[in-house]
Structures are given as C-alpha cells and as structure tokens.
C-alpha cells in the first residue's frame, strides 16, 4: 500500500486535528452563551498583543517545552510516561534544595547547579517505574500515575513540615537567596537594547529549553543511542535481534525523560516563584502529553506545540478575566487536542489517506502505461 507524502503526516494531520479541537471548543463556548469568535480575539490579544502578553505566553511555553520533550523521548521508545507531573514536582524539590542550601556566588553557577539538582531529582522519580517496567514487567503507565500521587504526598509532607521556615504561614519553602535570581527576558533583551515588559516571568530558561530541543533532536536522530531508542520503539523483537539491550533502553529513555521533566523546575520554581510552593507544576506535566502528541514527538514540533499551548494558557487566563468563561476552558481545549491528535488519530488519518490514494492512483497508472 502506498503511503501518503510525509508533509501530510507531519503538517496536514495535526492541523486537521487541531481544527477539529478548535471547532468543538468553539461549540462549547457557543453552548454556554458566549461568542467563540470574540473569545478567540480576546485570546489572541491577551496572549500576543503586547510584550507583557508575550512574556507570559513564553513563560508557560517554556514549561511545556520541557514536559513535552520529556513525554516525546519516552514516546520514541514506545513508553508512555504519564509521570511528568510527579517528576517535575520532584525537580522542583531538587531545584529548591540546590538554591536554598548551597551558597551560590553567581546566578550562572546557580543555574547550572539547580538544573543538575532538578534533573537528578526528576531522574530519581522516573527510574523506579523504568526499572520495574524493564525488570518486573509492571506497566509503566500505572506505575508513573502512582508515582505522581506519591510525589504530591511527599511534597505536601515536606512543605508542611521540614522545609517550611519557622513562623511562616504559607505552605512553601523560604525565598531563595538573591544570588540565585535568574535574568528574565526583559534583562536579556535590554542588553541588546530591545524593550520588553518588566513584569513577566519569562526568563533565561526559555533559552535552555530551546537548547534542549536542539540537543534532543541531535540525540534522537544523530547518535547511536537515539537510533537504539527509535528502533526499540518501532519494533522490540527487531531491536532485540539487532543486539539492542532492552533494559538499558527503557531505563535510559526514562532517565532522559524524567531529567527533562525535572528541569522544568528551573523555569517555574527558580525563574518565577523563587521559592517552592505546593502544586508548583500546575498540570504542566500532563500538558506535556498534549504537546508531544501535537508535535509528533519531534523537538521542533514540540517547540511549536509548546508555544501554542503557552498561547492557550495565557489567552485562556485573559479570557477568564474578560468574560464569564472560566479558566477551566483551557483544560477542555487541552483534552480535545489530546483526544483528536492522540486517541482519534486513525479517524482523522484514514479519510486523508484515502483522499491521497484517490488522487495518486491515476497519475501512477499513467506512469505505468
């Protein structure tokens, strides 16, 4: 059977899925008595209308780049890591410990240290499910879900008890020292003289996220390990036949995944809150699933999808502010994107494939004659 061209698979199908999701989202907005077109306009203005809006959009997008990449790596090895949420929570803990207990002389060093801390804690939370999948055959989806809840309980315990400063009423750690303050986009662009809103949390982690995209692209498509991960994901028996070590691939892929999810904390914990609060991740780990599906597990696709979801998040917040549409509308849109790009993939794909078949056949038969 002839396949359809690659551009259709990479661009057309996600686009159709996205339009379907947008259509149904519009239907929901219309059903609760609001104007979908107006809502879209408010979202576009709220998420891209000013440098302030862009700052928030990019801040959210940075979170989603990390979690989206995390889910993508696991997808390449045909592992479904739902544990991004818990891994990012633990990453927050790693970042917080690194920032609070090591006297960093300069933010640059603090950034490196906190990234390592976040990644290590994320890895620690991913490696147990990975090991259980590889060695004991425990389904990784179930174990990572369980680890999300355990992470929440652990952080709850630590933030109410050990890590809470004396006399504080907030369920949070102490404020990080001044030396760990990361330069935000306003300061970075200020160096080259571009004006940008001061009041946004977008910070240098955006650049780290973009670097992570490039690094992951190189890893997946231009290294031996990446090749092994992809072969394992495509066909486990074939990978085994080629001498690829199953245990190693599962554990390494999940370690990279957990590490990336953990590094998200550099953005939201170190870059924005500058202390660890309860529920700092705010569902970004789960949005990573939508981002990875939308971006077809390709780092560049993930980057674009993360920007799109950053737009949805910031636009949705403005929408809740300006209309009676609650913030949870974003969750509905997110679920529809997951539904259409993930679960209903075949529904979208089959008719498109058929259509291509129809148009390809005459030209091919003409060639044969």
């Amino acid at each position: 059977m002839k396949k359809m061209p690659k551009w259709a698979d990479v661009v057309l199908i996600p686009l159709i899925s996205l339009l379907l999701a947008a259509f149904f989202s519009g239907l929901v907005i219309w059903a609760i008595g609001e104007n979908p077109i107006e809502a879209l306009q408010i979202m576009i203005k709220g998420a891209t209308g000013s440098t302030y809006a862009w700052g928030y959009t990019l801040y959210y997008a940075t979170n989603f780049i990390f979690t989206g990449l995390a889910v993508s790596v696991a997808f390449h090895a045909r592992l479904f890591n739902i544990g991004g949420e818990g891994q990012a929570m633990l990453g927050g803990l790693g970042v917080a410990l690194a920032c609070l207990f090591i006297p960093w002389p300069h933010w640059g060093l603090a950034l490196v240290g906190a990234s390592i801390g976040g990644a290590l804690f994320g890895v620690a939370w991913a490696i147990v499910p990975a090991f259980l999948q590889a060695k004991r055959g425990s389904h990784i989806v179930i174990t990572t879900i369980m680890f999300n809840f355990m992470a929440a309980a652990l952080l709850n315990y630590l933030l109410i008890g050990l890590l809470k400063p004396k006399g504080s009423m907030d369920v949070a750690t102490a404020k990080f020292p001044e030396a760990t303050h990361l330069p935000n986009i306003h300061e970075i662009l200020g160096v080259v003289g571009i004006p940008f809103s001061k009041a946004t949390p977008a910070n240098i982690s955006l650049l780290i996220g973009m670097a992570a995209c490039v690094a992951l692209w190189a890893l997946i498509w231009h290294t031996r390990l990446g090749y092994e991960i992809r072969s394992f994901g495509r066909s486990e028996p074939a990978a085994k036949y080629a001498g690829i070590n199953r245990t190693k691939i599962i554990i390494v892929a999940m370690m990279i995944s957990g590490g990336l999810a953990g590094m998200m904390a550099v953005n939201n914990v170190m870059g924005e809150a500058e202390r660890l609060v309860l529920n700092a991740v705010e569902g970004a780990g789960f949005i990573g699933i939508a981002v990875a599906l939308m971006g077809r597990s390709h780092p560049f696709g993930v980057f674009l999808a993360a920007i799109l979801f950053g737009f949805l998040y910031q636009g949705g917040a403005e929408l809740a502010f300006a209309t009676s549409i609650p913030r949870e509308m974003i969750v509905v849109i997110q679920s529809l994107v997951i539904l259409f790009t993930g679960a209903f993939d075949n529904m979208v794909r089959a008719p498109v494939e058929k259509l291509f078949m129809k148009f390809q056949r005459p030209s091919q038969s003409a060639l044969v004659e």
């Binding site: 425990s138 993930g342 679960a343």
Partner: protein, 323 residues
C-alpha cells in the same frame, strides 16, 4: 466507647469504599474485556456533576442518578469509539477523558449555576438519605451485636447496598454466565472469540457500557448521597486512580476488589479522622503517608514482590480482524 469509635471508623470506611468499589468493578468489566480504562476518574467526575446538577434542578435524586449515569455513558461512548472503532490508544483516550471531564464540569457548572464551579446545596429529595434496616432500632441495645447492626450495617444509602450487591453479581456474571465467559475470553484472546462467531466489537462495547453505568453510580454516590450535598470542582480527587490501583491490587477479581477497596477505604477514613486513631490505638499516623499508601502498595504489588498481578492478556490492544 471503644467499640463505638471503632464502629465509627468502619462506618466511614464503608462510605469511602463505596465509590471506589463501584469504579473498581467498572474498571474490572472494561479491563477483563481488554479495554484499559484510566478514564474512571473522569467518568466518575462527570457523573458526580451530572447527578448533582440534575438533582438540584429537578429536585429528584433519582432523575439525578440517571443523568449521572448518562453523563458517564457519554464519556464511555467516546472511549469506546476511540479505542474499539478507531483502534486508537486506549491510554491516551483515557487521559483525554479525564481532562475533558475536569474542564467541562466546571465550565458547565459555572454557566448553569454561577457558583464558582459547584452546584447548589442539595437537600431533602435532592439526595440519597440513609436507610434504616428492619429492627435496627429495637436491636440497638443488644450488647455488641446491636451497635454493630445499628451503626455499621444499617443506616447507609441505597447506593452503598447496591455497590455491595454488585460484588457477588459481578462474580456470578463473570464466572457463571455465557456473557461473562465471552467477556473474559475477549480480554484474553479476542481472535478465538471472533472465530467462534461472536462479535468482539459488540462484547467490548457492552463491557465499556457496563463500566460507564457503574462509574455513573459511583459518581452519583459521591455527590448526592449523604453526607455529600452537591458537586464541587474536582471532587473525585484521585479516587478513580485509587480504584484503578485497587483493581490491580485485586488482580482483576471481584471478591478481592471488595477487600482491596475496603482496605483503601479504611486508609481514607483514617486519613480524614486522625484524632480517632489516636484515641483508639494511642499513636499518631502521618496523614501524607496514608494518602500515599494505596499507591505505594499498588506499586509493590505491580512489582510482583508479593504475588504477581497479571493483567488480561489482550488488554490495551485494539483488535484487528485478520483477512
């Protein structure tokens, strides 16, 4: 005094275990037929909202119950369509359903009632009240057995008794009926069922529908049975996942499902009332540890250190008819 305190904890154990049990049995039907369902949470949440909203509007908890079941069935239909008809990824479909329910319930609640994502308080006929079993009052003063009958066995809502009845019913259906045999077969070896001339798609849709009905009742119990009095945002609070954990803990068997749900229900009951535990046993328990315990136990079971949990063999795989 001691006995009353223990009975009080057991009483709230039964109450916390009921939605878990219904959702767990729901998952059991679905997974024994080969359809993984991590959307139990979402279905329960949608049903909780549907039941509370309609009960609040009509004033009848029974109409609410049916609305809740309807809401849950709709999500089941989406899951069935995605995972059976279009052979999509069942796990991704489940994730989508959870988010869909989490978002939609609040969006609709806000649009209908404008109370920040909750439904109005239910009272009177708007919720299920406790049923006092016969002779409970008269036998109350009989030592030991009297209080046990009065406090623990009597005085629950009808949904709780229904949930308990579902356990032998599920066991009977799965082990002794033709439908049950076929259902289990379709989860282990669908091509054999297909060869025998029985519709794999039909059986799987039936299983997913039963799952929807049970999740619907679980949600209704959560939002409309006393002491609950309405829907609040995210009110399932991970119970769908605890039910999933209980299902694995029970190794996909109905009677064990009852036991594991009671165990997890007990943990929840203790977590709500740490003071009672201190009063009865004389030591404090760590609340966060209790929250995490169902998940830790499930991971240990999954790891196969304490008896291996083997899922239905064809679970999660879409069935493709051979040509």
């Amino acid at each position: 005094m001691e006995l009353i305190a223990i009975l009080d904890i057991l009483d709230s154990t039964v109450r916390s275990a009921t939605p878990l049990l219904l959702a767990c049995l729901a998952g059991l039907f679905s997974e024994r037929a080969g359809i993984f369902d991590i959307g139990l949470e979402g279905k329960m949440l949608a049903a909780a909202f549907g039941a509370a909203a309609i009960a609040a509007i009509t004033g009848s908890v029974w109409i609410g119950l049916f609305a809740g079941i309807g809401a849950s069935l709709m999500l089941s239909a989406i899951h069935g369509l995605a995972s059976i008809t279009f052979r999509g990824n069942q796990l991704i479909s489940g994730v989508a359903i959870n988010f869909f329910a989490a978002g939609m319930t609040v969006v609709i609640a806000q649009s209908l009632f404008g109370q920040g994502g909750r439904t109005p308080q239910l009272s009177g006929d708007g919720r299920f009240g406790p049923i006092t079993l016969p002779f409970a009052e008269t036998l109350r003063d009989v030592p030991i057995l009297g209080p046990i009958y009065y406090e623990l066995i009597s005085g629950h809502t009808i949904l709780i008794y229904f949930a308990l009845l579902c356990v032998p019913l599920t066991w009977w259906v799965l082990s002794s009926t033709r439908f049950g045999l076929r259902l289990r077969a379709v989860g282990e070896n669908p091509s054999a069922v297909d060869t025998a001339g029985v519709s794999v798609v039909g059986l799987r849709f039936a299983a997913v529908a039963i799952c929807g009905v049970l999740c619907g009742i679980a949600g209704a119990q959560l939002a409309t049975a006393e002491p609950a009095a309405g829907f609040v945002k995210d009110m399932t609070a991970g119970r769908g996942f605890i039910a999933l954990a209980a299902l694995i803990f029970a190794k996909w068997r109905p009677w064990y499902a009852l036991l594991s749900c009671l165990l997890f229900g007990l943990l929840q009951a203790i977590a709500i009332r740490p003071d009672q535990i201190e009063a009865v046993f004389g030591f404090q328990v760590q609340a966060q540890l209790l929250d995490a315990l169902p998940y830790i136990l499930t991971v240990i079971i999954l790891a196969g250190f304490v008896g291996k949990a083997i899922p239905p063999r064809a679970g999660g795989e879409p069935y493709v008819k051979e040509r």
